[in-house]
Structures are given as structure tokens and as C-alpha cells.
């Protein structure tokens, strides 16, 4: 990604998350934050997801806002970013120390209906310290195992 574009997206990501910090979230309800997030995703695709990653991976945003972002990232039908969104959700499910973030990742993966996430979910359920989240992971696992769906992505170049 050209650095000028990357810099611009980084600024937009930061503004978006600053917006989220001021809002009250409710499940299934859109917000200014979710609308902005999805609009950026639709415009910048995987470049936007790549800009999000360091922010979420290095815990530089409010955990509840991060969790909310992951739900909406999972619910999005933006096809070309499917693979990078799924990687991000799986990575945070397996590596984040915040239950808010892991919960957001679980929900995001449940909305993606992608059976490729099954191995990560199986690993996550082993290491999850909260029983409540373990149950939720189990719920998603059952859902995916009973209904295998694998959307494909098409990325040819890895320059």
C-alpha cells in the first residue's frame, strides 16, 4: 500500500475510533461508528483492514469499541476483504487479552459463516479462561460444523 494512502487511512481509522468512544452501543443497532467503519471498509477494502490491525493488535483503542468493530467487520459482506477480516478476527480471538475483544471476535466469526475458522475456534475454546465465552465459542463451532460454507477470495499477487 502506498505510504500516502496508508497514512490517510490511518488518520481515518483513528477518527472513526474516537467517534466510537463517545457512543453507546446496542446489539443489532447501527451507530455512527458502525456506519463510518463499514463505509471505510467498502471504500478501502483490505487496506482498511490492514490499517486496523496494528490498532487492535497493540491494544491502542478502547476494548468495548474494538469489540464493536469486530462484530461489524464480521457482519460485513465485503467480499474482497473477507480473508483479511477473518484472519484478524481469528488472530484476536486467539491472542487478545481482553474479553471484550475476544467476544467481538467470536460474534464476528459467527456472522461470517466461514467453516475455515473452525480450527482457530477449536484452539480458542481450549485456552479460553471464561466459561461464558467458552460456551459462545462452542455455539459458533456447532453452527459452523453443521453448516459448512466456504466463501472464496481471489488474491493473486502477494507483492
Amino acid at each position: 500500500m502506498p505510504s500516502a494512502l496508508g497514512g490517510r487511512i490511518d488518520d481515518l481509522v483513528r477518527s472513526c475510533f474516537a467517534l466510537g468512544k463517545e457512543e453507546r452501543f446496542e446489539d443489532g443497532m447501527e451507530s455512527n461508528f458502525s456506519r463510518t467503519l463499514l463505509s471505510l471498509l467498502n471504500k478501502y477494502g483490505s487496506n482498511f483492514v490492514h490499517s486496523l490491525m496494528p490498532l487492535l493488535v497493540t491494544k491502542r483503542v478502547n476494548a468495548e469499541v474494538a469489540g464493536e468493530a469486530l462484530r461489524w467487520l464480521g457482519a460485513s459482506k465485503h467480499s474482497s476483504s473477507h480473508s483479511s477480516r477473518r484472519w484478524l478476527l481469528e488472530h484476536l480471538l486467539l491472542n487478545s487479552s481482553s474479553p471484550h475483544v475476544r467476544d467481538g471476535a467470536i460474534l464476528g466469526l459467527s456472522f461470517m459463516h466461514d467453516a475455515s475458522a473452525i480450527p482457530s475456534l477449536k484452539s480458542a475454546i481450549e485456552k479460553e479462561p471464561y466459561q461464558e465465552l467458552k460456551r459462545d465459542i462452542g455455539q459458533v463451532l456447532s453452527q459452523l460444523e453443521s453448516k459448512s460454507q466456504c466463501p472464496s477470495s481471489s488474491e493473486k499477487s502477494v507483492r
Binding site: 453507546r24 443489532g28 457482519a75 456472522f111 461464558e132 455455539q139
Partner: protein, 167 residues
Amino acid sequence: MPFLLRKIRKVRWLVEADLDWLKEGELPSDPLGDLSTKDNTLSVWHVDTNKSNLDRLLAALASGPDKLSHLDYALFDEALLSKIGIEFRHSPGASADAAANTNWHRDLVELSASKLVELAVGIRAEAQINRLSAMEAKQLVIQGVRSNHLDSTKLRPKLLSEASGDA
């Protein structure tokens, strides 16, 4: 004893092991975000002792948002209210299920801040906190529309369209 139902965000109610500033027995403040009052009143739903109306109420709650999603909820014993000294009264609800609005909606009234905190502590200690997956929620909404419990004209367009996909 009957139960009371309140929609929540489940993850707020997880007590974080790494909150080393939290004294033992204390609740962090995030759960209060799910007990937001208006005019010192909190909206809840009455669930029969045998939970026969639970699915119908969950359908009503699941049909409220902009789009179909999972639904986290807390189900607690009505007796918790008398322990804390909280009064409640029947009042009309605002869901897409008219009968549920008439028969099962309650307002917890005259809520002081301290009673609210006690309620939160009681819910954390005693309530069943569950999650209905998005798929389960969808099935309940579809069922609710088909059985005419839910007035489809009161559903938001995106949610109705998602539910109609399989209806």
C-alpha cells in the same frame, strides 16, 4: 416464582480477572450500561414461572433492532426485587408483539442509584445470563411473524428483509 427478562451485553458482565484495582466482591461499572434508566425507571419483561412465554419475548426483543443479530439477555428471579426493595408496575411495552406489550411488560420504578447498583450486583450473582445466536434469533423472529405474534409492519426494513429471506 416468575422471572424478569432484560436485554444486556453479556461481555459487560464478565468480571475481569485482571482488574487488579477492583476490590473483592465489587462489581465494575460497565454492567450499569445495561441498566440505563429513564425517569428513574427501568424496562423489563415478565417471564412465567414455567418460562412458557420466554421464546415469544425473546422474539419480540430480537425483532427490535435495525438488523438481525444475536441477543444477550439476563433472566432473574422476580424475588430479587423484593430483596432489594424495588417496586414495579405493569406498563405498556413498545415491541412489535402487541400482546406481549400489554401482558408482560413491567417498569421497575422509583430507582435510586444505590438500588440500581444492588440490582446489578444481584443480577451478576443470581441471573442466568445467556446468548441467543443470530441464527436462533432469526428463527424465533420468523416464527413470530408467521404466527402473527409479531406485527411485521413494526419491524425495521433491513431486519424484515433478513427474516423474509427464509420466511
